[in-house]
């Protein structure tokens, strides 16, 4: 059992804040895309249903954005408060994207403010829609910039370290390091996917409760088609992420796959348990699949954990997190494909109770996949805070008060999460679609 020193507590507090922030951040990246899409379709087809959809989503979105903003502010400052030594070093090399991110926030915040309060201000409805474009761009760019920072932690490039001194700094190389393409695209694509499924789940739930209506059916169709597109892209990019790991961080992949010996034609292990000799029991073995995931070739050689000193192995439980993420990814892709097929051939099946329930659970599942994926990726980087440059324990604060701060923030997030849920529920209950639709037509 690792002891609870200030480094360990800092890790816990960082994980808690990020784990909470990511829920709202993911929606913050993805939901604007869906809002913008719905409004656009609504204007183009002159369909009031879609425009109402955009309005109602926006109203809930404002509340989740607010929580995203405040928790983001927390993590932003906590990076310096909890990891002062790390930030002092990293700041010199990777300060650029962090700084750029604040411009993306600015851009998003300004246009979101305008978008919210100008629904009926313009004669030409496209003007209002145009205001949503900077919101989409701003939030996606902020996800991009912060992902490059995280990519840098996994694959630090663009500087030289000589006797503790950092020299030859190249900010753009640091930012566009080898991990950036897969990291940023997987994060963005999975945020779109998750937001689409969360909104689809909400819609499916309302259909079950209130019965079918043209409004809900359009909402379901729109969100599920979006979900399908991003389920496929997320899985494809996920496959590229595996290839990135095989090339640049082979021990992370090996730890995730419980792959101990370097071998050709490696099998992929799903599930299972490890005994004390690190033998895998009860797992499902997919022959040669690991070689395919790692190199796209069933007979390629995959590096095993044996080639690395044992004190540099990441905790092996990340295997389950990886499996859960991929499992959920497969399920989401299958579900949205099935929806597409059914909606063409057997429409009533796609609105059956069973199918709707499957969609309802897919919303929370997608969010879980985000959490699992991040924890896998972050814990899999251990013991490094900067891969092969700085160890996590050397980056942490030396303050003795991290424990009490953990309790403080824990209480804060509990209260925040709880009230946020109540406020959202109340908002939708007090404002049924039917009455609002009539109001909108009157305007």
């Amino acid at each position: 059992m690792p002891e609870l020193d200030s480094a360990m507590l800092s890790r816990l507090l960082t994980s808690m804040t990020l784990g909470f922030h990511i829920i709202f951040a993911t929606l913050g990246v993805g939901v604007p895309l869906l809002i913008s899409g719905a409004e656009w379709i609504g204007i183009r087809r002159n369909d009031e249903h879609y425009r109402l959809l955009a309005r109602r989503w926006t109203r809930g979105f404002v509340v989740t954005v607010a929580v995203g903003v405040v928790t983001g502010t927390c993590i932003g400052l906590q990076l310096s408060l909890l990891w002062p030594s790390f930030m002092e070093v990293a700041g010199q090399v990777i300060g650029l994207p962090l700084f750029l991110e604040t411009f993306a926030f600015f851009f998003e915040a300004i246009f979101l403010g305008i978008y919210l309060y100008t629904w009926d201000r313009f004669k030409n409805p496209y003007y209002h829609w145009l205001l949503s474009v900077p919101v989409v761009i701003g939030s996606t760019l902020s996800a991009f910039f912060i992902s490059t920072v995280n990519a840098f932690m996994n694959s630090p490039k663009g500087f030289k370290l000589e006797n503790g001194q950092i020299t030859e700094i190249q900010p753009l190389i640091a930012m566009f390091n080898p991990a950036t393409p897969t990291k940023a695209s997987h994060v963005i694509s999975s945020a779109y996917l998750t937001s689409a499924f969360v909104l689809a789940a909400l819609t499916a739930f309302l259909i079950l409760k209130k019965g079918q209506s043209a409004y809900y059916k359009k909402a379901l169709h729109f969100t599920m088609v979006t979900a399908f597109v991003f389920a496929i892209s997320t899985a494809v990019i996920g496959d590229f992420s595996g290839k990135y790991l095989a090339e640049y961080q082979p021990e992370k992949l090996a730890a995730a796959e419980w792959h101990f010996e370097t071998e050709k034609g490696a099998d992929l292990i799903v599930g299972g348990v490890l005994d004390e000799n690190n033998e895998v029991k009860y797992g499902l073995r997919l022959p040669n699949f690991l070689s395919i995931l790692a190199h796209g070739d069933p007979n390629a050689e995959v590096t095993g954990l044996e080639e690395f000193p044992e004190d540099e192995w990441a905790p092996l439980f990340i295997h389950y997190l990886f499996d859960a993420m991929v499992g959920i990814g497969m399920f989401l892709a299958a579900l949205s494909t099935a929806y597409l097929i059914l909606s063409k051939w057997k429409k009533e099946w796609s609105l059956s109770k069973l199918f709707l329930w499957a969609i309802i659970i897919s919303g929370p599942l997608a969010m879980l996949a985000i959490e699992f994926g991040w924890i896998f990726s972050e814990v899999g980087r251990q013991p490094w805070i900067l891969w092969h440059v700085m160890e996590t324990k050397d980056g942490a604060t030396t303050s003795e008060h991290v424990g009490s701060m953990f309790i403080l923030f824990f209480a804060l997030y509990v209260v925040l999460g709880w009230i946020c849920t109540i406020v959202l529920l109340k908002m939708f209950r007090n404002n049924p679609v039917e009455t609002e639709f009539e109001e909108q037509l009157d305007r």
């Binding site: 509340v63 300060g95 300004i110 309060y117």
Partner: protein, 340 residues
């Protein structure tokens, strides 16, 4: 100009921006709460929420911009301030979080709630008080380095006359700036009832603002005489600031030109803030970090400045658009537009 100086100037400008927009926001929270308990909320709360709703997130970004930029340009501030300020920083964060989220919950979500308004009002005074201590600490004497670790001298801070005078200044100037701005907004909205009340607040809080400023001068003289003497070199800026204060109050007192009055309030703080900042140099954290020792490398500095210029090209038009929609649009300000 040297790149370090450009860096600190950029950051200082944004901190000044935050000072103004956040003061309006913090003070408004307090007035809204005061309005509720004195049953005058129907008079002023409409004005307040009409201004605040579209801009609160932007206000927050000013703050984020400042601290992210500070770590970018001067990474060693992360080390010193980060290690020393874990507890006060976390408390300020919790307050900010409560404030921001409850504002949104109250305003966009559920109906008005007394608890939300109270939290919103109380945090409006506590946050400036706690954030201002970061500047207090920068004067030196509250952080020491013992065997390679940074120690924050809490007792010193709580017993220092200087530190309390800064807290006092922070709180009263928040109320003063906010009342001045809201008077302008109310006059623009032609809301005479709200204007009468807000004008009273503005006049009420102006003498304490000047009093507090003098107190801070005196206290700094005892606390860091070196800085005090450099401030005297810039005394013309502080005199300008005082003149602007008088003009602003004169306009409000004579019940005219609230817009011009607010511009003079901004100038008043601009001169004082830059006089303070310029005389603070070269130190960022006395005596450990100066703008030279704490600076990131040249390459990163240049990259950040380029990013900053590119960013401004994007931001300035957007901010102008925002202001035209909500600050200079008479119909919106008067509340006759169907906004939602």
């Amino acid at each position: 100009m040297e790149i370090q100086l450009i860096g600190i100037t950029v950051l200082w400008i944004f901190l000044y921006g935050y000072l103004i927009v956040a003061s309006i926001d913090f003070g408004a929270g307090f007035f809204a709460y005061y309005g509720t308990i004195t049953k005058k909320d129907h008079i002023i709360n409409n004005i307040i929420s009409r201004y605040l709703s579209p801009v609160w997130e932007v206000t927050n970004v000013f703050f984020v911009f400042f601290f992210v930029g500070l770590v970018g340009f001067f990474p060693s501030t992360a080390y010193y301030y980060g290690t020393a300020l874990l507890v006060p920083g976390s408390i300020a964060l919790v307050l900010l979080t409560i404030r921001g989220s409850f504002y949104a919950f109250g305003n966009y979500g559920a109906k008005e709630s007394h608890l939300y308004t109270f939290l919103y009002g109380a945090t409006g005074l506590l946050i400036p008080a706690s954030l201002s201590t970061a500047l207090t600490i920068s004067e030196g004497g509250f952080i020491t380095v013992e065997n390679d670790s940074v120690v924050f001298l809490v007792d010193e801070l709580f017993t220092s006359f200087y530190s309390w005078s800064v807290v006092f200044l922070a709180i009263v100037s928040v109320l003063y700036i906010s009342a001045m701005f809201l008077s302008f907004y109310a006059s623009k909205a032609k809301d005479t009832q709200a204007l009468a009340l807000l004008r009273k607040f503005a006049l009420f809080w102006s003498p304490p603002t000047i009093l507090a400023s003098f107190l801070v001068f005196l206290a700094l003289r005892n606390h860091n005489i070196e800085h005090f003497n450099r401030m005297l070199d810039y005394s013309y800026l502080f005199i300008l600031s005082f003149i602007c204060f008088n003009i602003a109050v004169w306009f409000v007192y004579h019940n005219k030109r609230y817009g011009t009055a607010f511009i003079f309030v901004m100038l008043q703080f601009f001169f004082a803030f830059f006089g303070y900042g310029a005389s603070h140099l070269p130190y960022i954290l006395y005596p450990y970090i100066t703008i030279d020792t704490g600076f990131t490398n040249e390459t990163m500095g240049v990259a950040l400045v380029i990013a900053f210029i590119a960013g401004l090209l994007l931001l300035i038009p957007s901010l102008i658009l925002l202001m035209r929609m909500f600050l200079f649009d008479a119909k919106y300000v008067e509340g006759t537009r169907d906004s939602r």
